[in-house]
Symmetry: D3
Subunit: 224 residues, 6 copies
Amino acid sequence: MSGIVVQTIHRADAMVIDGLAHCGVATVHEAQDRTGLFASYLRPIYSGSRIAGSAVTISAPPGDNWMVHVAIEQLMPGDILVIAPRSPCEDGYFGDLLATSAMARGCRGLIIDAGIRDVRDLTEMGFPVWAKAVFAQGTIKASLGSVNVPVVCAGAQIKAGDVIVADDDGVCVVPRATAADVLAKAQAREANEGEKRSRLAAGELGLDMYKMREKLAEMGLQYV
Amino acid sequence: MSGIVVQTIHRADAMVIDGLAHCGVATVHEAQDRTGLFASYLRPIYSGSRIAGSAVTISAPPGDNWMVHVAIEQLMPGDILVIAPRSPCEDGYFGDLLATSAMARGCRGLIIDAGIRDVRDLTEMGFPVWAKAVFAQGTIKASLGSVNVPVVCAGAQIKAGDVIVADDDGVCVVPRATAADVLAKAQAREANEGEKRSRLAAGELGLDMYKMREKLAEMGLQYV
Amino acid sequence: MSGIVVQTIHRADAMVIDGLAHCGVATVHEAQDRTGLFASYLRPIYSGSRIAGSAVTISAPPGDNWMVHVAIEQLMPGDILVIAPRSPCEDGYFGDLLATSAMARGCRGLIIDAGIRDVRDLTEMGFPVWAKAVFAQGTIKASLGSVNVPVVCAGAQIKAGDVIVADDDGVCVVPRATAADVLAKAQAREANEGEKRSRLAAGELGLDMYKMREKLAEMGLQYV
Amino acid sequence: MSGIVVQTIHRADAMVIDGLAHCGVATVHEAQDRTGLFASYLRPIYSGSRIAGSAVTISAPPGDNWMVHVAIEQLMPGDILVIAPRSPCEDGYFGDLLATSAMARGCRGLIIDAGIRDVRDLTEMGFPVWAKAVFAQGTIKASLGSVNVPVVCAGAQIKAGDVIVADDDGVCVVPRATAADVLAKAQAREANEGEKRSRLAAGELGLDMYKMREKLAEMGLQYV
Amino acid sequence: MSGIVVQTIHRADAMVIDGLAHCGVATVHEAQDRTGLFASYLRPIYSGSRIAGSAVTISAPPGDNWMVHVAIEQLMPGDILVIAPRSPCEDGYFGDLLATSAMARGCRGLIIDAGIRDVRDLTEMGFPVWAKAVFAQGTIKASLGSVNVPVVCAGAQIKAGDVIVADDDGVCVVPRATAADVLAKAQAREANEGEKRSRLAAGELGLDMYKMREKLAEMGLQYV
Amino acid sequence: MSGIVVQTIHRADAMVIDGLAHCGVATVHEAQDRTGLFASYLRPIYSGSRIAGSAVTISAPPGDNWMVHVAIEQLMPGDILVIAPRSPCEDGYFGDLLATSAMARGCRGLIIDAGIRDVRDLTEMGFPVWAKAVFAQGTIKASLGSVNVPVVCAGAQIKAGDVIVADDDGVCVVPRATAADVLAKAQAREANEGEKRSRLAAGELGLDMYKMREKLAEMGLQYV
C-alpha cells in the first residue's frame, strides 16, 4: 500500500478553482451539502489567506518527511500540498526550505495534519499553511509513504486532484468531479446572501425575513 | 424547561458597564473576589477588543442556531449575546449574516461556547467574538431552546442582564446587582496599581514593596 | 526540596546567547541533535519575537506566584524567567506589574507552563511571553517553591543559567556548557542553508540536490 | 464570596432520592428535559455503582482541600460530596483518610471536578467517586473556600441539597424542588421502556414501533 | 448527499470474518500493511471483547440518531454498526433499547465516533461498544443522514460491507475485497509469532533472534 | 546525544525497592516532598498492580522501538522499563512478544509515554503497563536512541537505576540516592495514618483531630 507515486492526476478547471477560492470555505461547504470539512484543529499559521488549488496528497509515515521531496516533483502551478501522517504526530514536517522549493513549482500552500516550523519565514514568504501544531521537532527520511493516493487528513477524505479551499475559517475539500457544480451553487448562495445582508443591516429581523414566527409558535415557543 | 423567551430583562447602568469595560477582565475579576471567569478555551477571534455589555443569553440545542434569530429581536443597544449549547459542540452557530443583524440592533459582541465562522468578515466588520472554535460546519433550525434564561457558558453562570466583560485576557461575568460595587472596587485597584507600577518600573522590588521578606524567612526560605 | 533560592548561577557568554537568538529555535534545535525542545502547547502571546537569554528558573506550587517575586531579585540583564508549576495549572501567574518589575531588571521575556494575564499590556510593553494559556485567574502567595533549581517545564529539562531560545516556532533550551559549540553548529547550518535555499528557489529539486532518487528506488518506491 | 459555610440545607425526601438512584442517570436526565448532566470527562473510578444523594457542595481553591474537612462536618447520612475547584485543577483532593471520615458520617460518594488518589483503597472500601483524573499530587490547606453555596461542577449548576444521581453513565443533578416530579416522570419512562424493550427484542423494528417510515419518506429519504 | 439508504451491500465470507476476529486488531493491522486503524480515543466500554463483522455504516447529523433506526433494518446477522457523526459530537446516540433491537437482528457490536449511554445495561447484555465518550445526553430525530454510504469514522475510511475487527487494542477496518488475503497474512504472522514467543520466553534476545547487532553497530550504537 | 547504551547502572537495595512498592505511589510521593510524580495521563492497562523496580530508561525516536530490543539486554531481575519518545507519539511500541522477552529477564513492568498494544495478552500474562494510549499502530526500527541515559517521561525526570513506583494512582520516581530515606519517611507516614484512620472511622472529625477550627476562624470562615 505504501511506496507508490501516482504521476498523472486530473485537476479541475482553473477558473472553477479560483472561483471556489473567492467564495471561501463556509460558503463552499454549505454549497456542497455540508461535506468535506477538515477538523477545526487545523489552523492557519497567519490570518488573511484565502486560497484554492488542486490537492497533491502525501500519505506519510509519522515523523518522516521523505515523501514531501517526492511530492514536490509532482506539483504543478496552482497545486496545494496535503500531508496526512499515518498515525498521530505533531513533528515539524515542513519549513522554509521545502516551502521555497514548493513555491518554485507554483504551489499555493500546505494543509498538514501534523506540525510545521519556520513560521516566521513562511509568513514573510507569504506561503500559507494550515497545520495541527507549530513544532520545531525535525523529522527523518527512513520509510516510504505514497504520493497522490487517497488520504484521510484531519477527518476529511481527499483524492489527488480534488479542490482544496482554505481560509481563516479552516479547510474544505471539493471532489474534482463536482467542483463546477459546487461553484455554481456557491455563487448562487453568495448572490442570495447579498440581498439578505442589506435587509438585515437595515434592521429587518431574521424572524421576519425567513418567516420563522409561525413555525416557532407551532413548536410551542413561549414569550414571557 | 426549553422553549421560553424572557422578554423583559433588567440591565446595569450604562456608565457602570462602560466603566467595567475600561477596567478590563483581569482587574474586574480580582475586584469581585476572583469569581465569574469563563474557561480559558474561549479565545477572541482577533486581538485588541475590550468590551462590556448586558448579557442576552441563549440556551441552544447542540448544532441548532434557531434561537439566535429569536434572541436578536431581544437585543438592545449595548447588549452582548451569550450562547451556551446544551451539550458540547463546536459547530459554527454564527457568521456574518447574523453579525450584521446583531450589529443593526446595537449588539457589541458575542460570547459562544461553540464554533464560529466567517471570521474574516467578522474581523472586517469589527464584530468581536470569543469562541471555543473556528469551524465552518453549519447548524440546523429544528429544535427550541430558550432566550434570557440562566445558563452555564464555559463554566460560568450567567443570568440575562448580567454584565459581560471581555478582552484579550478572556471573558468575565459581573452580576447586575453588584456591578456598581464591583466597578468601584475595580477602579480602586486601578488607582492603586498606578503607583505600584511606577515604583516597580523604577526598580523597587516587589519583595520590598509588599514587605514579603520577613514572611518568607519565617516560612523557611533559604538563600544559598 | 522546596524553599531554596540559589543566588549564584553561571551564565553563557552574551555574544553566544545573542548568536543563538539570531539562529532561532528550529536551527538551534537541529544543531544540538534535536534535544531541548519544549512542548508545542507553549505559544507566544504575540508573534514576531525572537529572543535568547539565561534561564532563571522557578519551581512553583500550583496557583501560587509568590516565588516570582523572589526570582525577580535574582534577575540580571539578559535573563529569561522560566516558571514550572509542580502540578498542571493554567492560572494566571504573571501580569503587567510583574512584567514591569522584570523589565526594570533587564529581563527579556517569560516562559511559563501555566497561564498569563494582562496580555494587551504585555504586548504594548513589548514583553514577550510563551505560555500554556491566557487566563485571568489570579494566584495566591501561601507556599514556598524554589528559584534556580533544575526544573522540567513543558517536558524540557532546564538548569538555571542554561540558554533559552524562543521565537514563533516555540521554545528550546541549550545547556550552558555546550552553548558555544551549539552556536557554531547552528551558524554552520545557516550558512549551508543559504546555498540550498537559492538552488531550491531556482527550481532544483530536493530529490536531485540531496541525491535521493537512487535510495528511494532501492527502497522500492514505484512511480505509476 | 468565599469563606462561608451554610449549615442548614434542605434535602429531598429519602424515598425520592432512592427512587432516582434506581432509575439511573440516563433515564433521570431524560425525565427532566435533558438538563442537569455533568460533563462526560467525569468518570467513575470503578464500574457498577449507582447512587443518589443530597449534594453537600464545596467551592474550593485550586489545589487546596481544606474545605473538605469543613464540609464533612456538614454531612448527613445519604449525602454526596460535590467538589468544584475555582479554577481548573487535577490535583488529588481526596483519598482514603477523607473517605473514611466521610463514610463514618454516612456519605454515599464523591463527585469531583479535579483529581483523586488512593484509588485502590477507595475501591476496596466501596466508596464510589466520579472524578476528572486520578492523580497522587497532594493539596494544601491555606485558603478558604465555601461549603453549601451554589457551584458549577463540570458544567452543571448545583445547589446544596439538590439530588445527585451517578452511575456508569456519568452524573446528573436534579433540583430538590422538582425531585419528586422528576422521579414520577422517570418511573413512567421506565414502565414505558419495558414494553418497548420486549417488542424490540422480539424483532419489531423501531421504524414500525415508532411509526417513522412516513415521516422519513416525507423528508426525502431514498432507498437505493 | 444525505438521505440515502443503500440496501444491498456485499459482505465478506463468514469464515474469513471469524478468522480475522480470532487474529485480533494488532495482527490484522500489521497484516494489511498498517492501514485501517481507527483513532485511539475509541475505547471499549468493557474489556475482553474480540469481534469482527461486516460494517453497516451510518453518516449521522450531530446529535441526531434517527438514522440508527433506519440502519437497524439493514442489519444482517454478523454485522457491526459503524456510526460517524458529520461534525464532532459526544452525545449519547445509542443505549439499551437500540442495542436490544440491534441484537435481535444479529448485530455483533457498535463502533461510534460519539457518545453512548446505558453502559451498565449494555455490559450486562454483552453488547460490545467502542465509543469516544460515555455520555447520557440524548439525541433528536430531526434530520436525515445516510446508511451504507462510505464514511470516515475516527480517522478511518469505511465502506459498507468492509470487515470491522475490534478488541481491547481498538478497532481496525479491512476492505472487503482484500479480507481473505489479509486473513492469510495475519494467520501467517500468528504462526510465525508462536515460535518467536517460545524462543523469547526461553531467554533468547531479540537482538540475536532478529540479528540486529551488526546493523546497530553500523549505525553507530555505542556501548559505554 | 543519541546512540549510547550505558551498561552499568547502580540500583537501590532490593528491600528498599520492595518496601516502596508496598507503600504505594501516593504515600511515596508525599514522603519525598511531593516530587517525582508522572503526569496523570499515564494509566494502567489493568487495575490492581502495585510494583516498584529499578528504571532501565529508553530515549526513543518517535514511532521507532528499536532501542527496546537493546534495552531488554540490559535488564536485571526487578527492573522496570521506562520509555520516553523524543517527541509526542502514541504509536504502539510494545506488545506481547517484547513483554515475553522482558519477563524472561525478570522485568516487572513498563512505563511508557506513548502507546501499547496486545493489551489482552499483557493482561493475561500479568505484565503491568502504564501508558498514554492503547494503540495498535506499529513502529519501525530505523533510528538510534539511547539506553540508560537520563530522560523526561510524562513530565518526570528519571535517571537509570532510580526507583519507579507504580500502582492504580499512577507512577512516581524516587532517586536512587534517597530511596532508603524516602522509604523510612513513607513508612512513618503509614504508621501515622493507621491511627488517624481509626479515629476518623470512629467518627472523630478532621477539624478536631487536626485542630483546624481556630485557624479557620482566624482566617475568617463564617458559619451561617
